[in-house]
Subunit: 187 residues, 2 copies
DNA sequence: GGCAGTTGTAAGCAGCTGCTTACAACGCTA
DNA sequence: TAGCGTTGTAAGCAGCTGCTTACAACTGCC
């Protein structure tokens, strides 16, 4: 990914390149359809190094998802997290962060980073839950999060029109309005 | 799946058993993580027959998704399609239909039954679009559909609490209320 | 009963996957 | 410069995958 012409042998740079390549490919194709050979090639690195530095494909995946979601959560306060996450999903190149995409692509049968996915999801939901004072705040936050993920699925995985090609602003407006109903409505 | 003790050799029953087994496994694990050997075993059938009757794993998948979504659409009128689809996703054993689950599980990189998935999604969206008279009816319908899929993802793939364990009635109530806002609100 | 087409079976092939190993090239320290 | 741990490489292994093939067993028809 990012080459460091200054040094020829640089373990840190290699690790970073693998993380970057993994982040890109996992977000694009999901866990199953991304091969360690693809990751290594994109990183410009021998694939054996992936196992030296991360131990396994799953371990690399976990580090990818951890880094990416942590970055995103740190960068956005709760009240802006919804629109920020939504926008990062709507604008492919805009935000380099792919936490939610990677998260949902990782689906599969479950074992792959399941614990970690749980933590990430819980952290998103906890932040969103602060936006409402309804008694079932967390459930409503989960539903809001689920919507973001669903939109990501439809846009980037199935590519269905008109959603896939719609103006991000229009989507954000529609979704945030409805989510406001979801969060504010008592009972 | 369903055994027919009366006949020993029955091509139709074998085909049906493969379709049933495929429907179950594809919905549970997605396309990639379901092997033809698993399908054949669950169907109680030699795996070579899968290729005799369907040609390829992808072709079987397409027939599975076509059958399942068609059944669902035929059975529910537009005004009840939303709640029916939502409920069928919320109650694992309730509705034997898994159209949306299979649909979203099929994600992967895209080639697998892409055309067919597009048709299915379009048909759902067209029916949902009849529920609003907003100018961007189809976009709103897509967003509603996306929400259903997102809820399915969170509940059945990531299993996140409290959503995964929440009362279906509570979810239906919250979601339908918000979706009403989404569909009715004129700009 | 004899035949032909249909249905079912066992075995295996080629390709890809994650992962390992044995080894070479490098660069820091003494 | 000699030695040694670190970084990078090439090759390959074992297991699984979708799919094919060669063949056996059954069924319906004459």
């Amino acid at each position: 990914m990012t080459e460091q012409p200054g040094r020829k042998r640089d373990a840190a740079a290699t690790r970073q390149a693998l993380l970057d390549a993994g982040a890109k490919l996992f977000a694009e194709r999901g866990f199953d359809r991304t091969t360690v050979r693809d990751i290594a090639e994109l990183a410009g690195v021998n694939q054996a190094l992936l196992f030296r530095y991360f131990g396994s494909k799953e371990a690399l995946f976990e580090q990818v998802i951890a880094r990416s979601s942590r970055e995103h959560l740190d960068r956005h306060p709760p009240e802006r997290l919804l629109s920020a996450s939504l926008r990062s999903m709507l604008e492919p190149g805009g935000d380099r962060n792919r936490a939610l995409e990677t998260y949902l692509r990782s689906s599969g049968s479950g074992d792959v980073g399941a614990v970690l996915r749980e933590e990430v999801g819980a952290e998103y939901a906890r932040m969103l839950a602060t936006l409402t004072d309804a008694p079932d705040a967390e459930l409503r936050a989960d539903l809001a999060l689920a919507w973001l993920m669903g939109i990501g699925v439809v846009r980037e995985i199935t590519g269905k029109q008109p959603l896939a090609g719609a103006d991000p602003d229009a989507i954000v407006s529609l979704v945030l309005t409805a989510i406001r109903t979801l969060l504010e409505r008592a009972e």
